[in-house]
Each structure stands twice: as structure tokens, then as C-alpha cells.
């Protein structure tokens, strides 16, 4: 679904990625982990074309991204949905109107149909019906994330990019969100690119994990394979007390 080869990103003289390779396979949930400042979010932003890259190729669904002049870019954008860390909802619109924004690009869709579809997406993201008419400022952090997810799913994308979906949620809300991601993946046949710090999320929903360190993807594999990787940072990450607690719970 996503193929990254030899990616190089830098800000000024600070090199974030150098020779980074990564694959997202159809139907899987890929977790991206790494220490702070290793460029997890930058990688996500580069793939969806929000960040200028200095080298390498990024292909999504077999098509190069990063060329803003490409007429197929819009079509490609409709094939992915992005959920930003705090939902990034438009604050002047209600939740339902937020979800309607991408649907407005669809020709021939009647107003009532669009509203009903938006309400369906809000409901699928696990929000109560009353949330539809609420403005983002009046929602809790978890509900804003769910609303952001509903908007990302509005056009039934094939790929879903999630940036720290469970950051700032309480453990109950976070595990409910983990379950939601898996449920939606199964129901909608999504491929999910998930940037996270949360070991519980990694255990609960990721099929594979990619570790970002030393400016590239250090290693990828299942959680079980990660336990055996012999690299100081990876070892520390997956064998720390929190990792053991997360694994023990499963």
C-alpha cells in the first residue's frame, strides 16, 4: 500500500531521515515507534505530502507522492484519511459538519444523504448521536480524537494514518480506541499506519511494528520478534517495566 525507499528528510542541517525504507502491507496495522525526535510524525507527514523530502521515493498505492503538480494527487488523497493528534477539527463547524467536509467533494450526493452518511461515520467512530451538533471546543480530548477519526474515514479511504491516537487518553478510553481501530480495520478492510508511544496500543492492535532510530527504520516485525532484537534502545523499549506490563495483560 505504502512503499518508502531511501527517504531523506532534513530541516536545515538537521537530518531527520536518511535512507529510510518502509512498507505498509494491505490490511495490516503497522505501528511506528521510536524515541522522541526520531521523526515518527515527520515520516507520517512526508508520506501524506505535508513535508518536503530531500531524496528517496514514496509510493502510495503504486503512485509517487510528493509531486504537487500531479493531477492524480487529489484522487490519491481521497484514498487516505489522516487523523491528527488532537483531531484537528475545524473549530467553527459542528462535528457532523466536520465529517461532511470531505463528503462535499462527491458530486450528486444529496444533502440529506450527506448528513446521514456523516452521522453514520460519527456513530461508527463510537460517538453518541448527540455529539453531531456539538462544536469541537465542547468535546473532551477522546471525543475529539474520535470525531477526527470519523472525518478521516468519511470517504472510506484504503489507508488510515493515525498520529498518536491514544496520547492523552485515560487507559479505559485508550483501550476502547484500540479496539475501535481493530474493529474498523476488520469492517472496512483498512490498512493502518499508526504512530504511537503507547505500548498497550502496540500490543493490542498492531500486526507489525517498525522501530525508528538512527535516522532509519531499524527493524520491523511482530511484537514477538521485537522482543528478540538485539539493539540497546529496542531492547530497553520492549523489555522495560511498562512493556512487560503491557505484554502481561494480553
Amino acid at each position: 500500500m505504502v512503499r518508502v525507499r531511501g527517504l531523506r528528510t532534513q530541516f536545515g542541517t538537521h537530518v531527520v531521515h536518511n535512507g529510510l525504507d518502509l512498507d505498509l502491507r494491505p490490511g495490516e496495522i503497522l505501528g511506528i515507534v521510536g524515541g522522541s525526535g526520531t521523526g515518527k510524525s515527520v515520516l507520517l507527514r512526508s508520506i501524506v505530502g505535508l513535508e518536503q523530502t530531500q531524496g528517496g521515493t514514496i509510493e502510495v498505492l503504486g503512485r509517487r507522492v510528493g509531486d504537487p503538480a500531479d493531477p492524480a494527487r487529489r484522487a490519491l488523497q481521497q484514498q487516505w484519511g489522516v487523523m491528527f493528534q488532537d483531531g484537528a477539527l475545524f473549530s467553527s463547524l459542528t462535528v457532523r459538519e466536520n465529517v461532511e467536509v470531505p463528503l462535499r467533494a462527491v458530486p450528486g450526493l444529496a444533502d440529506e444523504q450527506r448528513q446521514a452518511l456523516a452521522e453514520l461515520k460519527v456513530s461508527m467512530a463510537g460517538l453518541p448521536w448527540t455529539a453531531n451538533a456539538t462544536y469541537p471546543a465542547d468535546l473532551s480530548g477522546g471525543m475529539r480524537k474520535r470525531a477526527g477519526l470519523a472525518r478521516a474515514l468519511a470517504l472510506d479511504p484504503q489507508i488510515l494514518f493515525l498520529d498518536e491516537p491514544t496520547a492523552g487518553l485515560d487507559p479505559i478510553g485508550a483501550s476502547a480506541f484500540d479496539r475501535l481501530i481493530v474493529t474498523l480495520r476488520d469492517a472496512l478492510d483498512l490498512s493502518v499506519f499508526l504512530v504511537t508511544h503507547d505500548l498497550d496500543t502496540l500490543c493490542a492492535c498492531c500486526d507489525r511494528v517498525a522501530v525508528l532510530a538512527e535516522r532509519k527504520v531499524l527493524t520491523t516485525g511482530t511484537m514477538a520478534q521485537m522482543q528478540k532484537v538485539d539493539h540497546p534502545w529496542v531492547h530497553q523499549y520492549f523489555h522495560g517495566p511498562r512493556a512487560r506490563a503491557a505484554a502481561g495483560k494480553d
Binding site: L61, V106, N132, D156, D189
Partner: protein
């Protein structure tokens, strides 16, 4: 799953519908892009989906709608059936919205709300005035707690930085008054009275009023924006938990800086206005600066005192409205913008109302 880029192109997804008696055969993609094609098909028809290639939640939603309307769906593949089941399970149950009250009722209610809102706003403004005075009282009792650095900083921001614009504006007002006045007064041969015209209007009214309006635009917006962004990022909550008093740390230095600086700005404005008027009188009417000054001497100093005595009141109004609007900013960026522009409009409006009240007051006193 097949990697299928063409599916993404809005022009490409296609749905063909073949009517076969009561049965309707769908082939192609039943997705959000092709949903409108399905509309003409009667809701009760039996849909045969055995040849359907693609189905998304929008398509599944349409099928679910048809099922509840008595339609029948056959030939779903395993994957599509799962999706349809998931969508059916997630169908929102709309709750009945309360009926809107009749029009006149609503209008009455709206008017009442606005009146109450305006009264509450006034009450809150008086509350903020009281809070800043109380903070001033506390600062007088314990001078060590007074944020002197902040006061000096705000004096520089609201006072010194405003000098150029206030000076230029007043100079031009003086020029305009002299120019217009000269034209009218020359017809009566009363050119010398242009000095009275300029002096009285600038010293008494225009100098301080226009300065207050400029400061209201400059400083009220800055106050709201600075306090509002601190409120948005919970800095004010943090202050309170650390035992810092927001009234003392934020409001008092800002309001006090305005109260100290606005009279000075008013004086600057009066002087530059007179300068502009004098220069224009000299050029246009041949009234030399010496004559201008002598004529000015004969006027009562009362005009200048009346003008400058309004300055602290205007300053209080601007400061209190700006700080109050800043404190009312919510969590979203939109409210910051809304409160900032509301603060400027209310401050200018309030300054003009206060000026009118002063006119009546001084007229009654005979000043």
C-alpha cells in the same frame, strides 16, 4: 486485496443497473461516488448484488436504508455482508429534537436574552473595575508585591510606542481644522478666531477623544490577545495554583499603565495638534506664531484641564474592557479572534459614550 489505484479516481468508479422484472442487478462499484445512481431504483425492489465488485460504507448504508424500507438484498459476498452488518449495527438512532417554539416567542426570548446579556456584561465590567482597584489597594499596602517591571513594560508598550501615531494624527487634525476654519472665518473677517477654534476643539475634545480611540484600537486588542492567549493555554490557571494573583500580575499593571500613559498621550496630542494648527494658520492666514501664542494665552486654561481630566476615565474604560474580554476567551482560537474584535468595538463605543456624558457633566458645571 488487489492494489487498485484507478478505484481512487472519482471519474472511474462505475455502477451499472439492469432492471430485470422485480429484480435489479447491480454490477461495478456501489460506493459514495456512485450512490446517486441508485436513487431512481424503487426502495422496495430486490437488489441482486452477486456481481458487485466494490462496496463501501456509503453503499452499505444505502442498502441498510433499503432493508429497513422493506427492500430485499440478495447475493452479497461474504466480505460485503460483513460490512453491511457492521454498518447496520452502527446506524445512529436519531433522537427527536425538541420542536422550535413559534416565531414571536423566539424573537421575544432572543431580545430578553440580549438584554440580560448586556446587563451581565455591565455587571462583569464593574466587577473587573473593582478587582483592579482592589489589586491596587493590596499593592499599596504591600508595595513589595507590586509588579513594577511589568508596569514599566506596559507603559512602554501602550505609551511610548503610541507616541508617533498619536502625534502624527493630532498634527494632521490641527492642520485640517485650521484649513477648514480659515476658509469659513475669512468670510467674516474673523481670521484671528481660528486660534480659538483650534485650541478649544483640540484641547477640550478632539485631542483626547481621538487619542483614546487610537489607544482603544491599539491597546484593547493587544490586552485581549495577550491575556486571551494565556487563558487559552491555561497559563492563568497555572498562575492561580502557584499562588500568583492574576488581578495583581496581569490586570493591574496593564490598567495602571493605561491610566498613567493616556493623559501623557493626550498632552502630546494637544501639543502636536496646536503645532499643526499654528503652522497652517501661518501659511494660510498669515497669523504669525507670536500672534498665535498671544491669542492662545488669552484663552482659559480650563479647556486643557477639562480635556485631560477625561483621560484617566477613558484609560480605565479601555483597560477594563480589554482585560475582561481577554479573560472571557475560551479554549478555541476562534473565540480569541471574536473577543479581540469585540473588545475593540466595545472600547471605542464606550469611550464615545463616556465623552458624551462628560460633555453634559461639564456643561452643567459651567466649565
Amino acid at each position: 486485496m488487489q492494489l487498485d489505484v484507478t478505484k481512487g479516481d472519482p471519474a472511474v468508479p462505475d455502477l451499472s443497473i439492469q432492471q430485470d422484472g422485480a429484480r435489479v442487478v447491480l454490477t461495478g462499484q456501489l460506493v459514495v461516488w456512485t450512490l446517486h445512481r441508485l436513487s431512481p431504483v424503487p426502495a422496495a425492489a430486490t437488489l441482486d448484488l452477486a456481481a458487485l465488485e466494490g462496496l463501501d460504507t456509503a453503499g452499505a448504508w444505502a442498502l441498510a436504508q433499503r432493508q429497513t424500507a422493506g427492500g430485499c438484498v440478495t447475493g452479497l459476498s461474504q466480505r460485503h455482508a460483513t460490512l453491511l452488518a457492521a454498518v447496520t449495527a452502527a446506524l445512529p438512532a436519531p433522537q427527536q429534537a425538541p420542536l422550535p417554539p413559534p416565531g414571536w416567542h423566539q424573537a421575544l426570548e432572543e431580545t430578553g436574552r440580549q438584554v440580560v446579556g448586556a446587563l451581565v456584561y455591565l455587571k462583569e465590567l464593574v466587577g473587573y473595575l473593582g478587582r483592579s482597584l482592589a489589586a491596587l489597594g493590596r499593592a499599596l499596602r504591600r508595595p513589595g508585591r507590586f509588579p513594577l517591571t511589568a508596569l514599566v513594560h506596559h507603559c512602554q508598550e501602550t505609551g511610548l510606542r503610541a507616541v508617533p501615531i498619536v502625534a502624527v494624527m493630532s498634527f494632521l487634525i490641527g492642520v485640517v481644522l485650521a484649513f477648514q476654519g480659515a476658509d469659513q472665518l475669512r468670510r467674516f473677517g474673523a481670521e484671528i478666531f481660528v486660534v480659538d477654534l483650534i485650541a478649544i476643539s483640540i484641547l477640550r475634545e478632539l485631542g483626547i477623544l481621538l487619542t483614546a480611540i487610537i489607544v482603544a484600537g491599539r491597546t484593547a486588542s493587544a490586552l485581549t490577545a495577550s491575556i486571551g492567549s494565556m487563558k487559552m493555554r491555561q497559563e492563568i490557571d497555572a498562575m492561580q495554583t502557584l499562588g500568583l494573583d492574576p488581578d495583581m500580575v496581569l490586570i493591574l499593571p496593564r490598567v495602571l499603565a493605561l491610566v498613567l500613559m493616556l493623559p501623557i498621550l493626550g498632552l502630546v496630542s494637544a501639543l502636536t495638534g496646536l503645532l499643526g494648527g499654528a503652522i497652517m494658520s501661518w501659511v494660510e492666514l498669515g497669523i504669525s506664531p507670536a500672534v498665535f501664542l498671544r491669542r492662545l494665552d488669552e484663552l482659559s486654561i480650563g479647556h486643557a484641564i477639562v480635556g485631560l481630566s477625561k483621560a484617566p476615565v477613558f484609560a480605565l474604560i479601555i483597560g477594563v474592557i480589554g482585560c475582561h474580554a481577554g479573560m472571557r476567551v475560551g479554549k478555541d482560537a476562534e473565540s480569541l479572534g471574536r473577543m479581540t474584535s469585540a473588545a475593540v468595538v466595545s472600547a471605542i463605543f464606550a469611550v464615545i459614550i463616556a465623552d458624551a456624558a462628560f460633555s453634559i457633566f461639564f456643561a452643567r458645571l459651567g466649565l
